[in-house]
Amino acid sequence: MQHTEEHLEHTEPPVDIKRQIWRTFWILFALTIIDIAIYFYFIGHKSMTKNITFIFLGVVKAFFIVGVFMHMKFERKWLPYLIITPMLFVIYLITLMVIEGNYTSFVR
């Protein structure tokens, strides 16, 4: 046990893992820059396409954070199923409540 620890202590950091971490960081950075660019280019405009683009970019960022940073990509496939399936129902709830909100606004 002691020997193994000693051995591990002196190993060099695995290059591919570090490279993957930094690559993910630059992807997240670029996606946020794209977010800001779209925001400033269409400032003041209200459009559904713009909103859907922002939400899509948010989901892509979430995919990279959960997949790489939280290591979900490399776990057994049951774990993603367990965590992601309930969240699909949340998307359904969001859709319902936005429709309901528009209806409330219409009734008022």
């Binding site: 046990m1 939400i55 939280m70 057994r76 949340v90 409540m97 528009n102 606004s105």
Partner: protein, 239 residues
């Protein structure tokens, strides 16, 4: 097939018993379940935000304010119209602290105590930086602009509280306080937990234990806080 052979077969399939079908430790699995429940809480807040915002869609008296007219301040640049810049900076701080966290986890796999401590310290600094930015943002929001808003009785109201605000309808201020406040509380508790883990790293607790799994668990929590901010940023500031 004899009984022993059947048992050997069962132990090989994921749900056959005798081992975790997820092949992770129970602590990490429970952290995932907790994060799922926490995701529900944040979803409920964002769902109610979507509902209330859309229910003001055709309200002409107190229209829902556009974020670029509310969150357009930057420290030391008083009076300059800079929408989104400060919040973007906060986003980058949080993403960067997430990177240092995952580097701490990576160093933990190699049992490199010194590196784990350094990266953990940087993560704590990032968290404190984010919280300071949020404190400034809240102060700005509560103090309000110089112009303020003229109320129905002729008086001028500056800033925001839970009953009224100068930006738009009451729920706008309330939702700002509850959504960013609840997220900020998560960042705060994350910083506290990170600090405890940092102390344990320095004391050599995990070195003696033989693994740095605690760092991985708080790492999961910290990345989740970053993840939530991605959506708060999208729904509250961009859209």
């Amino acid at each position: 097939m004899s009984d022993t052979a059947a048992l050997t077969f069962l132990k090989k399939v994921p749900w056959g018993g005798g081992k975790s079908p997820f092949s992770i430790t129970y602590g990490k699995l429970m952290m995932w379940i907790f994060l799922l429940s926490d995701a529900f809480t944040f979803s409920s807040l964002l769902v109610s935000y979507g509902f209330i915002r859309h229910s003001y869609a055709s309200n002409k008296e107190t229209p829902w304010p556009s974020p670029d007219h509310v969150f357009n301040h930057f420290p030391f640049l008083h009076g300059v119209h800079l929408p989104l810049m400060f919040v973007s900076m906060m986003t980058f701080i949080l993403i960067f602290s997430s990177v240092t966290m995952v580097l701490a986890v990576e160093a933990g796999h190699r049992m490199a105590k010194k590196e784990v401590a350094i990266y953990m310290f940087l993560t704590i600094l990032g968290g404190i930086g984010f919280l300071s930015c949020q404190a400034w943002e809240w102060t700005q929001f509560i103090t309000g602009t110089h112009e303020g808003r003229v109320l129905a009785d002729g008086s001028i109201f500056h800033g925001a509280n839970l009953i009224k605000n100068e930006y738009g309808p009451t729920p706008f201020g309330d939702l700002f306080f509850i959504v960013t406040g609840f997220h900020g509380f998560h960042v705060f508790s994350g910083v506290v937990i990170n600090f405890i883990i940092f102390g344990n790293i320095l004391a050599g607790t995990y070195q003696k234990r033989g693994h740095y799994e605690m760092v991985e668990k708080v790492g999961l929590y910290w990345h989740f806080v970053d993840l939530v901010w991605v959506f708060v940023f999208t729904f509250y500031y961009l859209i």
